[in-house]
Amino acid sequence: MTNGRTNAFLIVALFFWFPEVSLTNGVLTFQTKVMHLLRVEPENPKCFAEGMRDLTCFWEEREEERGSTADEYTFTYTYQNENSSNCDVAALALPLAGSRRLFFCQLARIQFFVPLDVHVLYKGQPLYSRNLFIENMFLLDPPANVTVTRTGKQGQLRVTWLPPPLKYMQKSMMYEVRYAPENSRMGKEITVEAKTELILQGLFSGTKYKLWVRVKPDGITYNGTWSVWSDPILMATPPSDMDPLIILLIVIISVILFLLSLTLLLSYGRFLLKKLWPDIPTPEQKFSGLFTVHGGDFQQWLGHSNSGRLWHPVCVYSEESPAPLEVLSEASLRPPPTLRPNSPKAPCGAAQAKEEGKDTREKEGVDSGSIDRWLEPPHARWLAEQLRAFQEHPAPLSQSSLLESQDAYVILNQNSQHANGEATEDEILEESLPLQALFSCGETSTESRSDLGSLRQSSGSGRLSSQSSFEYPNHTWPPLGPGYTYMAVADSGVSMDYSPMSASRLTDTGKGPIYTNNYKNEILAHRQLLTGQNFHSGC
């Protein structure tokens, strides 16, 4: 009976009279347990057993009992089939509990596996009562000697601890391990049954982990509340280490890839280079010394070059010399008009591309009649005549340096047939219309002609309207400059292939863009004239 009082006195003394005295572990643990149970245990009185030979029950002072003393409480307990016993109540003042006091009693006689009735009376009146089994009220100390070691494997730690030193309960324990990275608040908990060691897996490499362990009876024979967490233990996982096999595989694969790429590069290097960095064609070959000696000054080059004479009036054509075309037109063509050496343009016989436009067509109408003559003779004959004519008249045919260079562009003028300028060009354009070659004349005269001006934009029209250069009575030859772009037209009867010849780069400046488009063969579809287009480029 006095045992409880002595304990209480000691505790109070330690708390109040000797605050500097370091509290023993047992008292601290007791205090911790009381505080813990105050939070988690709902029933009153709150009882817990620390070992196999004790039971402590306590309760908190209520508002109604404020200022009461321990003497005003009566604590009785009764085991089944036995008489009741009394327990001495003592007061306990915890510093954290504020001003409220605690009263507790430690039972003298302990019997397990038998129901126990507990009654608390305040001033003779029943205050609390409870029926319990002591073996279900365990509140153990947290596991001691928690040690953490590395296992030698990546992301693993081994945790071991000592079980509570209770004789009959060694195999009836349940543990919980909590672990979290040092600075993180997210922790994981793992429950361990009966064993006192655990290997944590799947941890981050090279991280410091904090670990706690707690214990509780497993609930089959003995039961209780979870103990408080043990003091945290810190341990870092081993830093990440590359598996040597993985390193070897990576090296092998990279070597293989390197060799493969090297092989590919060597075998297809040139091809790839050509694709990725295509050569920009330069006309250097045709103009010897233009870039090297004269620094790109064409005028200067002309003055110095032997072939400058041939170029007057300057008419540059692209370095690419297309093969002579065979004119295979089946349509009847008028014989080409006789070459008029006088007309600087007439011998050229160039046909001009013309955009659709009724006005132009109207103009054409005048010409068409004379142009009609073109269409009658067969192509071959006409072409031969043209060639002969060019050869006979080299000078006026300065533009025909094309021919000298064995280029022959012939365009067949279909539009010319319609005297009325109707859009009956379609009739002329049969599928049989074969080749159309465009002769381009040299000089660029005024560009005031609207039709010509619009020529530039007619690239997308796809409609062919050709104008005979031979019959242009009212106006000068359309300003076909030396910088024309010529288009060789090849008609296979199914499709028309246009291969535009770009003019010299020199003459690109300032004259407008060069349009090169792929024209579809609209003869079949629309029965329209297809004409090559003149593209102005400066000459």
Binding site: Q111, F113, E135
Partner: protein, 182 residues
């Protein structure tokens, strides 16, 4: 003919030899999970009996063992005394449970059957631990370690507490198992 008789004699000798080997002690069952399983089943039976009010009748009060364990007192007893106490209690429980009359409650009946089977199994476990079988002779039973119950739920509560307490303590601290451990 002599061969066949000789072989027959040999066969008999072999059989005799194996028969002699039979009474050797069983391997000791030291794993406490066995008794834990019985305890869990007994708890289920107690819960079922608490629910069974009408159909589960006990004809007259029955003597049952005391289940209380004071460790100081218990540890003072030697193993034989503990064994006797345990076996007496098991016998009493067996008598009481088998006399239960269950009407119209098949679940309760199955619990009763399993409880009786478990009590028999515990006897075999004790036997494996070299604990001699003991049946209390009539009239020896004193009032010290027994008391009387009148309801089925009380009976099964005693059954659970007895298994959890004395029976388990005896099995956990059987000398045979302690020797193996150390």
């Amino acid at each position: 003919m002599s061969y066949s008789s000789g072989l027959f004699a040999l066969l008999l000798m072999v059989l005799e030899w194996t028969r002699l080997g039979l009474p050797s002690p069983l391997r000791p069952i030291c794993d406490l999970r066995v008794i834990d399983q019985f305890i869990m089943e007994a708890r289920d039976a107690e819960a079922a009996m608490r629910a069974c009010k009408e159909g589960c009748r006990l004809p007259g009060p029955f003597t049952v063992p005391l289940t209380r364990v004071n460790f100081d007192v218990w540890e003072k007893k030697d193993v034989q005394e503990q064994a006797r106490e345990v076996q007496t209690g098991l016998w009493l429980l067996k008598e009481a449970i088998s006399s239960l009359q269950v009407v119209g409650n098949s679940a309760a009946q199955s619990h009763i059957d399993s409880s009786l089977r478990n009590i028999a199994s515990i006897g075999q476990v004790l036997h494996s631990l070299s604990i001699q079988e003991y049946i209390p002779p009539a009239g020896v039973l004193g009032e010290q370690e027994t008391w009387r119950v009148s309801s089925a739920s009380e009976l099964f509560q005693v059954h659970v507490n007895f298994l959890r307490g004395k029976v388990r303590l005896l099995l956990a601290n059987a000398p045979v198992c302690q020797q193996d451990a150390s």
